[in-house]
């Protein structure tokens, strides 16, 4: 993907990240995030949550991974996320992205990002500023 290939309005391929318990446990181990609310539904519900939650920085990782799969070799200069609602593990999440601006001088693109729950509620919104290889 080169800057010349990117247009305002382009949509990134939709993704459904792996939120299975083993994957979440693996990530928590790697990130040293040892909290029951991420891996134990009952413990999370005892805290008033709807179920065990996808860690916030893991969801940001999902978004970054989507951008890099869409544009291998790109550089993400900034990612800004807003957490609007819980994302529960072991559910199907839907990640979307869209190019909302391009700058010919800086050769960067602005991208909208969302993560939606199974029921359709948008749990995370965000934007990213990206430049491209080549």
């Amino acid at each position: 993907m080169r800057f010349e290939d990117v247009e305002l309005g382009d949509e990134l391929p939709v993704e459904h990240p792996d939120t299975s318990l083993p994957k979440i446990e693996q990530w928590c181990e790697a990130a040293d995030q040892h909290f029951a609310r991420f891996v134990d539904h009952e413990a999370a519900k005892a805290e008033g949550l709807p179920g065990a939650l996808v860690p916030g920085i893991m969801s940001q990782g999902f978004l970054l991974a989507m951008i890099h799969r869409w544009a291998p070799g790109c550089t993400v200069h900034k990612i800004d996320t807003v957490f609007r609602g819980p994302l529960v593990i072991e559910t199907e999440l839907t990640i979307t992205g869209a190019v909302t601006d391009t700058d010919d001088e800086t050769r960067m693109a602005e991208i909208d990002l969302t993560i939606a729950t199974e029921e359709g509620r948008t749990g995370v919104i965000g934007t990213a500023l990206v430049s491209f290889a080549g």
């Binding site: 309005g9 909302t100 601006d101 602005e110 909208d112 359709g120 509620r121 919104i125 934007t127």
Partner: protein, 212 residues
């Protein structure tokens, strides 16, 4: 004339959309919008001037507010100095009857938004606390609704004789125009909008891809 009556820009704490990028998106995607209304959370943005964008992109860009009450969120159109001084826009528990009365008294127009939202919408509060006199119009189509919420809004609004409008509730650029309002009248400024809302001559419309 079709306006998205519920949008947020980077002026809102959870908004990530630049106003010019909304304009570019509308034109690039050829959305059937003639303009949009910025309804920033818990404030009225009196200083921003978007007339140059209106001219450049041929869109109407108006400013309003989304305030918070004990019966959920409320959009207020036609905000002026009198209204800003009538109650604290930053509070999250303004009494709904007070907001409705203040809007009427100051020549503005107040209407609850996403009333069908679970637990926090107007109709959920009605179930718990009873209805409020003075509500006449609600946002029946909201771009952030999940299946069932707008249906509830339409049904309840119909039963109660409320007029219904639509808005995307966009916080990022690519969500603008998911829902909007089709007016019979031409609207060029905020006074036109308040006047058109008072007539009731408008319809909520949706352009979400799966529903178009």
């Amino acid at each position: 004339m079709i306006l998205d009556l519920h949008t947020h820009s980077i002026k809102s704490d959870d908004g990530r959309a630049k106003v010019e990028n909304y304009c570019k998106w509308i034109r690039k995607k050829e959305l059937p919008l003639d303009g949009f209304v910025l309804t920033e959370h818990r404030q009225f943005d009196a200083t921003s001037d978007y007339r140059h964008l209106e001219d450049e992109y041929g869109l109407v860009i108006l400013k309003a507010s989304e305030v918070e009450t004990d019966y959920g969120h409320v959009l207020v159109f036609g905000v002026n100095d009198d209204l800003v001084n009538s109650f604290d826009f930053a509070k999250v528990d303004n009494p709904l009857p007070m907001v409705l009365e203040a809007a009427d008294r100051c020549g503005a127009f107040a209407a609850p938004c996403h009333p069908g939202r679970k637990n926090v919408g107007l109709f959920a509060h009605y179930e718990n606390k009873g209805a409020v006199d003075g509500v006449h119009t609600v946002e029946v189509l909201n771009g952030g609704s999940i299946p069932g919420e707008d249906e509830l809004s339409v049904e309840q609004a119909g039963q109660r004789g409320y007029a219904g409008f639509g808005g995307s509730d966009s916080h990022i650029v690519s969500r603008i125009g998911y829902c909007a309002t089709d007016f019979d009248a031409d609207i060029a400024d905020i006074d036109d909008l308040v006047g058109a809302l008072r007539t009731g001559n408008f319809r909520a419309v949706t352009y979400r891809e799966q529903e178009s």
